[in-house]
């Protein structure tokens, strides 16, 4: 994507922003972490929604599963499980820095593994559905998993569980997690940029354009579809692991499987930015998150009404999104000059 004639400058600039933004605005470190997380959300949603034409409302499942898995690994490593089950709220989950970071790393990797396997299993069933059936099925999946998580005692059932406390020796948790999420976002972005440039990218685009034809041309569509969902699940799981630890407390419906907030936002952000483009989800997520943080507090409880209104307005009047609009306005910036050359 020819966003800039000097991509090095652009990426360098973003890197500098990523490093210095949390240092310059220490009061907003949590919000900055969440902004990078939102970008990751939108990017991962776009793999299926934008590139493959499979609009999922249930990607939040992997976020929550990754979160619970990472926190559970921390508990299994360092605490007596029987003990925290009884007094999960009062239990003091203090750890040393090395243990904390090791536990987080191991937990997020285990979580990612679980999520990829889960995506494979779920995908081989659900991804056989087409179009709106897939959308509604994943909507049901997201709610069902959230409700089901609320009945599992091992992870604290409906009353939730606590992630370990961030060790004081490591300074501010906001700074740590703004870098965690920035690195995650960078990894996701470049991994997807690379993936889209390979045969995999072409294959999922072919599935979006005409699945039957793609299959007739000899593509193993089911394999590609499940693989795409696994990629999304992999990155979302890391986001979940980080957010669970950042938030400290994991509640099944509001933190781990918040279909009504994160689950909807990831769809909205990708569409707002322009689905099916590499930069669209990034821009959409940043625009959405910044507006939300700055203006939504003035709405006093009417935020979610505004969210519903925003979805309707974006979908009805602005379906191409920001990048789609830019692309229509300046097509030559996007390499649509092939006709002249040939």
């Amino acid at each position: 994507m020819n966003m800039s004639s000097k991509p090095v400058l652009l990426y360098g600039g973003i890197l500098l922003v990523g490093i210095f933004l949390p240092l310059v605005f220490p009061a907003f470190q949590t919000q900055i972490s969440m902004m990078w997380m939102m970008v990751t959300f939108a990017l991962t949603w776009d793999i299926l929604g934008g590139r493959m034409g499979y609009n999922s409302f249930g990607n939040i499942v992997f976020f929550g599963v990754g979160m619970y898995a990472a926190a559970s690994v921390q508990h299994e490593l360092y605490f007596d499980v029987g003990q925290f089950e009884v007094i999960s709220d009062q239990f003091n989950l203090q750890l040393t820095s090395e243990k904390y970071v090791f536990g987080l790393a191991l937990g997020s990797i285990v979580g990612a593994g679980i999520c990829v396997v889960l995506a494979w299993i779920l995908g081989s069933g659900i991804l056989a559905l087409r179009g709106q059936y897939f959308a509604i099925c994943t909507l049901g999946l997201g709610v069902a998993v959230g409700e089901f998580a609320g009945t599992i005692d091992y992870i604290g059932a409906g009353s939730g569980m606590s992630a370990p406390v961030f060790p004081q020796a490591m300074g501010s948790s906001g700074l740590f997690y703004s870098y965690y999420f920035f690195i995650l976002m960078g990894f996701t972005f470049f991994a997807l940029k690379w993936l889209y440039s390979t045969r995999f990218g072409l294959a999922i685009n072919a599935i979006r354009d005409d699945e039957d034809k793609a299959e007739a041309m000899g593509l193993h569509t089911t394999r590609y579809k499940t693989l795409a969902w696994c990629v999304a699940a992999f990155f979302l799981s890391f986001a979940g692991a980080g957010f669970g630890h950042l938030n400290g407390f994991i509640d099944p419906l509001d933190v781990a499987f918040p279909g009504a907030t994160f689950g909807v936002w990831m769809v909205l952000m990708a569409i707002l930015g322009g689905k099916g483009t590499l930069w669209g989800p990034v821009i959409g997520a940043v625009v959405f998150h910044v507006t939300q943080e700055f203006f939504w507090s003035t709405l006093l409880g009417w935020q979610r009404v505004a969210l519903g209104l925003m979805i309707v307005i974006v979908v009805v009047f602005f379906p191409l999104g920001i990048m789609g609009w830019v692309r229509e306005k300046w097509p030559e910036r996007f390499g649509h000059t092939l006709e002249e050359k040939s």
Binding site: G125, I126, L129, I136, T151, D153, V264, G301, W302, V315
Partner: protein, 313 residues
């Protein structure tokens, strides 16, 4: 303690509940009767959903919110001293207006777009309405007090709430009236013609825009009536709408579009299945059960079709 998904005691509770059904057969009868009376309401909402789906090719996620909104009409009437049973007439009138408003402002612009656009647009309206209801009526669980009693059979082992029976009868009557309307009236025929072939209908002089508006508003009205009964039988709360949408969707896809008797059978069966599941697993699994059932039904159907090299369309 090893990490197990469900505790032994939970599973034991399921099994003992199941055993109880065999020990006391009237309990099963009770569940069937209750389930069928509730199922009639589900079938009503599903009928509306299938109507909009079939005629406009829009999957209306707002369905459940219309039901809840109808419920709030009944609740408000009961609060102001009017018997909520009249809400079965008042709620459809109000909801017809609501449906017409949303059609003219939003649905009109997405009705001929790709399916996901209209799906997402109605999803947006659904969130909008949920949150509006939360702001206006509060997040509390509300019910419309109706003052009807209960009949007991088999020494009180099987009870039939009069209001449930009345609601089921009203639902059947309303469904019947809708069918008659679609068959006999001029507008009903126009709706069916548009469902068959919108382009041909337009050529024959039918104003399809008006037909769409009428279809969508009628659907909202039906849902409103179902909601008024739900508020009397059960409860309403701002966020419960999606559950009704999913129920209606499940019934519609099990029955297939345009299969009216199928909608009735599927609706009643879903009501019964839900009641049995609620009894065996307990209330905390109710929502997980409904949404899990949705996933199972969709995947199962697609698997069955896949064996014939077809897919859900």
């Amino acid at each position: 303690m090893s990490p197990i998904l469900l505790r032994r005691s939970t599973i034991d509770a399921f099994i003992s509940n199941l055993n109880l059904l065999f020990i006391v057969p009237p309990l099963s009868l009770q569940l069937v009767v209750n389930g069928m009376m509730i199922g009639a309401l589900f079938a009503l909402a599903a009928f509306g959903m299938a109507l909009v789906w079939g005629v406009m090719n829009v999957i209306n996620i707002t369905q459940g919110e219309f039901v809840v909104l109808g419920g709030y009409v009944a609740v408000l009437m009961a609060q102001n001293g009017i018997h909520p049973f009249f809400a079965i007439i008042v709620a459809p009138v109000i909801l017809y207006g609501v449906g017409w408003f949303f059609y003219q402002t939003i649905i009109k612009r997405v009705v001929d777009k790709e399916l996901f656009t209209s799906l997402l647009a109605t999803f947006g309206i659904s969130i909008l309405l949920q949150q509006l209801m939360n702001q206006v009526f509060g997040a509390d669980i509300r019910r419309a007090e109706h003052g009807f009693g209960t009949w007991g059979f088999f020494d009180g082992l099987v009870t039939v709430e009069q209001i449930k029976l009345l609601a089921a009868i009203a639902a059947i009557a309303l469904g019947g009236a809708m069918v008659l309307f679609l068959k006999k009236s001029r507008l009903g025929q126009a709706i069916r013609a548009t469902a068959q072939n919108a382009r041909a209908a337009r050529i024959m002089g039918i104003d399809t825009d008006k037909v769409y508006a009428a279809t969508y508003s009628l659907n909202a009205a039906i849902c409103g009536a179902a909601g008024a009964m739900v508020a009397m039988i059960w409860v309403v709360e701002p966020y419960i709408g999606l559950v009704y949408t999913i129920r209606a969707f499940m019934i519609a896809i099990i029955a297939g579009l345009g299969n009216l008797s199928g909608v009735v059978v599927a609706g009643l069966s879903l009501g019964v299945a839900e009641n049995f599941a609620g009894f065996i697993f307990g209330a905390q699994y109710q929502i997980a059960f409904i949404f899990g059932l949705l996933v199972v039904i969709l995947v199962g159907r697609s698997f069955l079709l896949g064996r014939k090299r077809e897919y859900l369309k």
